[in-house]
Amino acid sequence: MRLTVADEGFTQESFAAALFKARPAVPPGLVAGTPAHRFEVYRRNVQAGLVRALEARFPVVQTLVGAEFFTAMAREFVTRQLPTSPVLLEYGRAMPDFIRGFAPAAGVPYLADVAALEVARGEAWHAQSLPVAAPADLLRPCLTDARLLLQPALGLVRSPFPVLAIWEHHQRADAPPIDWQPQSVAVHRQGGAVVQEALAPPEAAFVAALLAGETLGGAFHSAQHAADGFDATAAFAWLLARDLVVAAVSDIHQQGEQDDATGR
């Protein structure tokens, strides 16, 4: 049977599909005799551009596995998950989950959590900065019944590995030796700088509960049950000192008022 592919006209569908074929052929509709390397220009640009976007977002992951491994892994990610938006700074959020399921990376068990830390750093870099709650807004009865709205920049990575120590080890030569203990890391932004801080287990449980939308009292409760030695005052002060509390919201009605206030 003769293939009649060459007789088909150009379509964006066939051109786009050919960009991701493992063994590319020249897609239909190009002028006769178009050499394959001309089409390869686009195929390479598309793949290399997306891999570059991931390299920019995951520099430490790349260092941990080496450029060659990273490129192969990133290509696999690109093949499975093309961006759905032209805003590539959002691309790669799913990389930590992808790495968890990527068998060749199984030998580096902390890789996915380092990727999660790098995702959190990227989110903090691009996050909106909201006005900080005035002290008077927080001096209210039943504050523990309120949910705290936190700065969008705040993220938390909880890992059974010393994920921050590993990350720091790739930032500067004089980083302390890695103590192989679990680490939870809060990532946020102070002015124009993204910062990350290791949190003790109860503080991490506290921040995780707040980020999950629990009330302040509920978060205190979660933290106390997570581990011994939780200092509720210190944990709350930690949030305030970093300007991370945007508002305290007691119910749906006040949520509406808050939206009105920030919308002005």
Partner: protein, 283 residues
């Protein structure tokens, strides 16, 4: 007719931010890639706010997929509208290409056959974008390396008709003229002259200059890749002079996106454009 110098700009790279803010640099505008500033906020927004207080801005998009089969992504168009409302750029430009298909962003400026059907489609998309933004946009001629089997309209005629039907302008990338002409085996000066002759007066709203990469093809011929990673070659400067002689001063941008050089190197390229645009006489 005496000429005045064109406004000269460079593409903004974050590595140059500190230099741009420490002291007012001798450039007239900065061009930003729209999609790099479409996050919710954070440091990129803060930086852009600071830059906008010292420099005029031009917004250059790569994500609208004007040549795509799908209509422009409404969410993306809304982001572009927000960006333009926030920073009031004096120019907004996009490409005569497609970069999305079937809801996926393909991250490249993919080639479009120039036919009556694709012209009608691009006209609709440009109309929609201009209506949404409430302003004229410039559409850039792409760097081409493929030719299509079906009969096509010459690029100058296609762009001219797009301008006539939509009121849009053209971002004339003279390096892309050089790249396309070299790759499609025609004289670059002829493609440029055809472009200048075809485009209605006043439609070229900006000129781009950049450095392509040269590769040798299996048949020994030279092919150019539009890599924005090198100084503007002499052949592109010649086309720039020719364009200035034809249409007079136009805002001119030096693009350098890969292997970004030190600020002084970029500034020297901008200075050369300024010097040329001040000396070439129109007509």
């Amino acid at each position: 007719m005496a000429t005045t110098s064109s406004p000269i700009g460079v593409g903004f790279k974050p590595s140059h931010f500190a230099t741009l803010i420490a002291a007012r640099q001798p450039i007239d505008f900065l061009e930003i890639h729209a999609e790099n500033h479409m996050g919710p906020g954070g440091v990129p927004h803060m930086q852009l706010g600071e830059l906008a207080s010292s420099y005029a801005l031009s917004v250059h998009g790569v994500g609208l997929s004007l040549g795509g089969e799908d209509a422009p992504d409404r969410a993306h168009l809304a982001r572009l509208r927000t960006l333009c409302a926030r920073h009031s750029p004096f120019l907004v430009s996009e490409h005569l290409a497609w970069s999305s298909h079937g809801g996926m962003f393909l991250n490249d400026l993919l080639p479009l056959p120039y036919t009556p059907a694709t012209l009608a489609r691009v006209v609709n998309h440009v109309d929609e974008v201009q209506a949404s933004l409430g302003r004229r946009i410039l559409v850039e001629n792409p760097a081409r390396c493929l030719a299509f089997a079906e009969p096509t309209i010459p690029e100058p005629a296609f762009l001219a008709e797009l301008c006539r039907r939509t009121g849009c302008g053209v971002l004339l990338d003279v390096t892309n003229v050089l790249v396309s002409a070299t790759n499609l085996r025609e004289p670059a000066s002829r493609l440029l002259d055809d472009m200048l002759a075809a485009l209605p007066p006043g439609t070229v709203g900006e000129i781009h200059l950049s450095g392509p990469e040269s590769v040798i093809e299996p048949d020994g011929a030279t092919m150019l890749l539009d890599t924005h990673g090198a100084p503007t070659p002499e052949a592109a400067w010649l086309l720039y002079r020719r364009a200035l002689a034809g249409i007079g001063p136009v805002p001119t941008l030096v693009e350098w996106d890969n292997d970004v050089p030190d600020w002084e190197v970029l500034l020297a390229e901008a200075a050369r454009a300024r010097q040329l645009s001040a000396t070439v006489r129109c007509g």
